[in-house]
Amino acid sequence: MNGKALIQALNGVYEWVDKRLHVTDLFNHTAGHPIPKSSASWFYVFGSATLLCFMIQLLTGCLLALVYVPSAAEAYTTLEYLTFRQELGWFLRATHYWGSNFMVGIMLIHVTQVFLFGAYKYPREITWMSGVVLMLLTLGLAFTGQVMRFDEDAYWGLGIGAAIAGRSPMIGQQVVNFMLGGPIIASETLSRFFTLHVFVLPGSVLALVALHLRMVLTKGINEYPKPGQIVRKETYDKEYATIIKKEGIPFFPHGIWKDLVAASIVIGGILFCVLMFGPKGPLGEPNPTQIDTVPRPDFFFLWIFAIAALMPDYMETFMLLVAPPIIIGLLFILPFINNTGEKSWRRRPIAVLSVILIYLALGLLTYLGQTSPWSPDMKAWSGAETPREFVEGRSPLELQGLAVLQNKQCRNCHAIDGIGGHRGPDLADVGTRLTKDQLVRQIIQGGGNMPAYGKNLSPYETDALVAYMVSLHPRGEQPARDSAVPATPAPMSVQEGEQHAAVGAH
């Protein structure tokens, strides 16, 4: 058989299949559909890159599910098996972990680009709304995925999630039961989250991606916005048809090559992170009796972690239960609030400012979440050493005061010269800020976020603690003094200081 005959035969097979499956038609309506020439831009690659990440997640997720056992008793063991024993198991876990990080990151860029390019306006409202749901589903996948890595972070993360859900008025307990499969975190909880993570959420994502892409095809991809080109409901459809007619090019091959280049960059980026940084965890075992831990969510939820830790208590219910529906609702109805008009970000200063402000806030909160200075250092009381200059030259009582400071776990929240927890102020120079009486009051009664220790300290312990803290002022710097008492020219001697401390605290 010569070449010509072979091609003819293959063509015959193709035509037979095409007649039945309409492949050519499908291709012309999808990959071959015309797009405005201006839309074949590097700014338009983020949607497909997000979808690529999702595909990677599906593939690696299926492979992980071959080994992972979603039971509270065995999940941690299978994670350890995957990470340390299974050939290339670590690679699989790392790809799934970094794939999820990239997916959330690229999705955020995609949303931002769509917002700044005004692509949510008439007639693409449903495209935007389905995108908002996809974003929520992706965040849901990220959260449930974090629970699949069933370690101490997952355990406490779930605990916090349940505590937030439990605040719902009237039905709090029922919501918690529904979420955890009972009143506490147990095997039922993991089964529920597994079901969500591998069936419900990915299935919903696939359905919504179909809708999202269908809208892209029927309503066309947004043209690259030009300043001054105003969207009007009456004229837009005709204008878009004209653009397609005049300068329309088929997506394949004119637009797709940029998506393919972006796809290879994304795959390269994920592989780079996989090989350089590897998988995350598993950290310590999910053991509720082990409180010596600093649980922290994955990076995409660090900002929520920071808000939850930093907001004043009177805002908690509002921020946890009222604000999220409002924000999601606003995002959802954005196309109706701002349906027509300018698309170009060059003529939409409020849109640009909003993006800058939102990213600044998210960035700052993420940084704070990463450093989480509000988390106590639970081992500092027994492990944090004290620099020599804060021990030497102290009287026996003051040394005993330092021992009390360690034993009563003050160091878990208060550093001395940077060593220890950072929840409260550093004590290295507390003697210049508070007088002896103020220290006694602060320790006994607490205040300003500090618990009262009056019931946990004997008078002698308070005396010793205060005597030590009064001694904490840099050399040459005067200790704090009561402003109602005239300044004494010479500082108190060691003995006077101690007598003073002993009498004052009684």
């Binding site: 350089m276 965890g281 027994s382 050493e385 026996p396 040394l399 005993q400 009390v404 060691v494």
Partner: protein, 234 residues
């Protein structure tokens, strides 16, 4: 072209090394051990002891565990018992799981054994006994004047720019007689307080003198209302 060649070279290098040596591959030692399975002395000591006792180089508020004299007078079994059950009167917490602490008996054993590995010197020939009953208060005052007054003052209330009071009721209320005895014997060499043998050059304190001076110190104990305590109440 150059970029393509470079990428190809990198990929081949990774392929040749077989992913075994890439930095992202978790190593066995990255595995987070369950807290009760930690057996590394350095980790156990730095997490549980260094805050108060220093780490051998740094100093802490209470006696250093790297003090050869202290280690030579304190029987190992007794240290094990102190770590296990604590010394409530001195503020030393109990560390064993059975007593509400966070360490297993095996971990306590590792800590104690390794601390004693620091003890390089044999105990001095004239070393006093670790514990003994209280001595005579009147004799103790004289011993204090001879051995301690140069730094702590004739009345024990401390000297400016030297050392602070050792008869402060709050201080005495927070330490036991045994604590006072241990410090009298071992001193705090790391903080400039000499041990029993070097307070007065050439004249080491005897076992009885130490018991006497501890009795004198303990006689200054007061309750929280400033009333002197009889020895039985202390």
């Amino acid at each position: 072209m150059k970029i393509a060649a470079l990428s190809l070279a990198c990929l081949s290098a990774i392929a040749l090394s077989g992913c075994d040596n890439v930095p992202g591959r978790p190593k066995k030692e990255d595995r987070r051990p369950e807290p009760h399975h930690v057996t590394d002395f350095k980790t156990l000591y730095s997490q549980n002891c260094a805050g108060c006792h220093g780490n051998g180089q740094s100093v802490g508020p209470v006696i250093s565990m790297n003090d050869p004299l202290y280690l030579s007078i304190l029987p190992k079994e007794q240290m094990r018992q102190i770590v296990t059950s604590g010394r409530a009167q001195n503020g030393m917490p109990a560390f064993s799981l059975a007593n509400g602490g966070s360490l297993t008996n095996e971990q306590i054993g590792i800590i104690v054994d390794n601390i004693y590995a620091w003890a390089k010197n044999p105990p001095p020939a004239n070393a006093p006994a670790y514990s003994a009953p209280l001595g005579d208060v009147a004799r103790g005052a004289a011993v204090f004047a001879a051995n301690c007054a140069s730094c702590h003052g004739a009345d024990g209330k401390g000297l400016k720019d030297k050392a602070g009071s050792v008869i402060n009721p709050a201080y005495l209320g927070l330490v036991s007689d045994q604590y006072l005895r241990t410090i009298t014997i071992a001193g705090r060499n790391d903080l400039g307080c000499p041990d029993f043998a070097s307070r007065v050059p050439g004249k080491a304190m005897t076992n009885e003198e130490i018991s006497d001076v501890v009795a004198w110190l303990a006689s200054h104990r007061e309750n929280e209302f400033g009333q002197k305590l009889a020895p039985a109440q202390q």
